[in-house]
Subunit: 427 residues, 2 copies
Amino acid sequence: MKTVGVAILGLGVVGSGTYTILRDHREFYRRTQDIDLSVECVLEINKQKALALGIEENRICGDIAEVISNPAVDIVVEVIGGVEPARSFVLAALHSGKTVVTSNKELFCKHWHELEAAARRTNAGLYFEASCVGGVPIIRTLIDGMQANVIHSLTGIINGTTNYILTRMAREGAGYAEVLKDAQALGYAEANPSADVDGYDAAYKLSILSSLAFHTKVPLENVYREGISHIALQDIAYGDELGYVLKLLAIGKFDGHKCIEARVHPAFVRKDHPLAAVNDSFNAVYLQGDSVGDIMLYGRGAGALPTGSAIVSDVIYAATHGEAKYSGFKNTEHAEAGIRFVTDFKSRYYVRFTAKDRAGVLAKVAGILAKYNISIAELVQKDGSSESVPIILVTHETTELSVRAAVEKIAALDTVEQVDSVIRVEG
Amino acid sequence: MKTVGVAILGLGVVGSGTYTILRDHREFYRRTQDIDLSVECVLEINKQKALALGIEENRICGDIAEVISNPAVDIVVEVIGGVEPARSFVLAALHSGKTVVTSNKELFCKHWHELEAAARRTNAGLYFEASCVGGVPIIRTLIDGMQANVIHSLTGIINGTTNYILTRMAREGAGYAEVLKDAQALGYAEANPSADVDGYDAAYKLSILSSLAFHTKVPLENVYREGISHIALQDIAYGDELGYVLKLLAIGKFDGHKCIEARVHPAFVRKDHPLAAVNDSFNAVYLQGDSVGDIMLYGRGAGALPTGSAIVSDVIYAATHGEAKYSGFKNTEHAEAGIRFVTDFKSRYYVRFTAKDRAGVLAKVAGILAKYNISIAELVQKDGSSESVPIILVTHETTELSVRAAVEKIAALDTVEQVDSVIRVEG
């Protein structure tokens, strides 16, 4: 039986989960995988944390150099998060020929090429299943399960915090600020929640997932991003009446030739779409391949054990497959390959505005929409005071720029108090 | 660039789909996978079928020996189905050192050990993703994505034909026989529908999937099997009123130590369970791992292109990964390993019976259930004539044998006309 030495960099939530899984399943992996996974050392400044997990003192390192120079370490698990010092540590491990398994989406999406180049130089493995959608094997699926397909679209609920917040808002009719505070108290959201609620976390993951799905690097700067902090409870309620659920979606599309779009924003989803039933902190990714048709993967997108499961699956994969396999993008130069990132994407739109006076306003609004070739699928006038009437319209498919221009014109009408919200309608 | 020669045995639905995908994506795989997949020959007696797909005449073989002796063939795709001659052809290919990719669930679940042993002897690859749940990469997930977990349960809707029939019965209130006839006309069901509607197909797949999930061969003869042909429309309607949807479920459970159960039967699923929304010919597998928690994979379980997608994904995997990897069951001797297959499984139960006379019957039924330690979760008395009253009860969790014994006693009551149906309630 092969013994494989593992080092864990950082004993935060995911690092502790990973250690626990490796410790408790050692005999199970011996029996089912024919490998002996031994945690040789952990890099953790807080010694007490490591000792509390039952790690022997002589296996606790305070310096990355100790880890790298330890000949018993074959695989380095990086679960520190953020760019530095994670990047330097990962590069050092790869330079020394050690395989790296990481959950670090920010590092990976920002420095993918650098990391992959370093891995190739020493023929070290580089695995990152845990960087996206926790324990759901979406990366393995894209690389090894759907690779026969031209993938045309990827639509995901890939941030658990925002899905938890939106689910509770919809279920309890509670406001954003209130639910966020609760989520922070429960540990579902950070003290500074921006990475989640402003869509950065989802954008990192979408950059990685759409790069794999479309076989060309989709850089973070080409991912459109909009968060959920401006979401009004009324829109969730009105959407519900119209048959929609509000989700923070991450959408990647590829026309099969040259055009890619990637965007993260709140969107309404029809209640009978499989993604509509993905609630609380669950995640899911819905994919459309040209041969396989529609596929969805669903599961826990975060947490110590689900993310640890993805890490350890990568560790086992690396330990039991002899060769390293990389993303192998050839199209690093997008201009050269003719790849174009679409920003004027198509969608349907939910627009809510407040009319000062209902007489005449609809004709004017219809005129503006017609001018921009936007056709109305639904129009609902809600009860209001005589001087303030909420009006909701849902458009057929149109383009982002048309809607923005039309909304500006609508907001400028004398008879319109304000345009309250514009929400895309997908799926 | 590596050129890899492929042979396709059989140009039925899946064979034709596989050929089409390989033909239409050849340039795509060159670009994205750095391999050139060339269909060197097809084995098909009906020459016209092959010619109609655009296959050159000199690549059409009538004899397996031609395929095996062709040095340009590296990978043999077996999509004939059934045990013979598929088994002999696959063994011949493996003996000659050629990698085999198959969609043949019956062959695989009945002759797994023989095939795997043959593959090991020549170090040939043996891949079978397409044998279960069409294009959904469930086998890759079990082998390479969830292998860090002790998997405790697997619950699947893994037969498209029965799910199509049950979905239409529920949606339209149409009877089983009528919908089956439609399904046959549409090509969703075979002229002899037994393999699907009697649960054989699902049992083959469950044998394979639970073997992989639980790391020990679960032989077909240990899979309990019950089909859908006896399902009455009333039970679907009554179930709906109680908040349930009827599905043909394939269930595998493992206690983590010694006890495995595997069963295919119709079952009620709560409407808010993710499996309840899996409709028409869609399939899904819901898994519970000790670290990852709940995961679901959803997609098309059959059809030329979805199943072809799984075949071609295996072909690419085999062509791009140097080494073959096998299931590697160590526990081929279950008795030795202490594995026990549970037949007296636990479930909740929906029981419908017709009372001749309502006076006194409930007390007697309650008495019988109490004797077998079965507690009632719900009891509904439906409208009927004064001499024939349908009564439905749903139990709390109990054991199969208790329910069978109690039902026998209930049926024998003077005041009971008959027990109409007993349906398990899961999920």
